[in-house]
Symmetry: C2
Subunit: 98 residues, 2 copies
DNA sequence: ATTTAAACTTTGTAATTCAAAGTACTTTTA
DNA sequence: TAAAAGTACTTTGAATTACAAAGTTTAAAT
């Protein structure tokens, strides 16, 4: 009866990155401000966790101008979906004691 | 649509402490060696995470001699059960996007 | 000219994590 | 009886992570 803790993804251990992924799994794309308010984070904190997930290839960052204002939007990649689902599987198995 | 990430319990963010709690939620008591092997940890690493959970009052540590050998067994406290269930609730709500 | 807004980046400190080594006591083995 | 092994840690130290606060950039609005 080995444990599943080592199948958990380190990238999703942090609550903020877990939150970002959760939000992106149910929303096609979310912009910087919305994400910041949803998760109640400071600018810098959000930016750094976003960078971490982007480096793993789990999210895509799109920068554009809408009207005259810059707009940054995030979306989850296929790799990110796979990784997140695998993480949730491991989590579920761990919590169910198998 | 506020996020639930701030209802997650910091004590259970780490995979090892999450593993310890999961094991103790489905087993009345588990000894040091069994826990160590189940979670595939080094002595020191297990000991330090156990201490962290004990300090929070989430687990109880019992030391005794069985035959001539020392035996340390762990069990979850009522407070620990409550805290862990609250954490799982927050996790579930977060992941379901509510 | 100053302020505001969006989205960061940088800085610095504090906390966390973990392996490895060391400790203490006891028992078994050579 | 001396050495090795077992149980359960504690300590040390280095690396990584986390986070707030402050600074930066570009452009628009006042």
């Amino acid at each position: 009866m080995k444990s599943y803790i080592h199948n958990l993804n380190k990238a999703f251990e942090n609550r903020i990155r877990l939150g970002i992924m959760s939000v992106l799994m149910v929303n096609d794309s979310v912009d910087f401000s919305t994400m910041k308010e949803t998760l109640e984070l400071t600018d810098g904190n959000l930016a750094s966790h976003i960078t971490a997930l982007e480096k793993e290839g789990y999210i895509h960052v799109k920068k554009e101008f809408v009207g005259k204002k810059p707009l940054t939007t995030y979306s989850v990649t296929k790799l990110g979906m796979k990784a997140f689902n695998d993480h949730l599987d491991a989590l579920e198995k761990l919590l169910k004691g198998r």
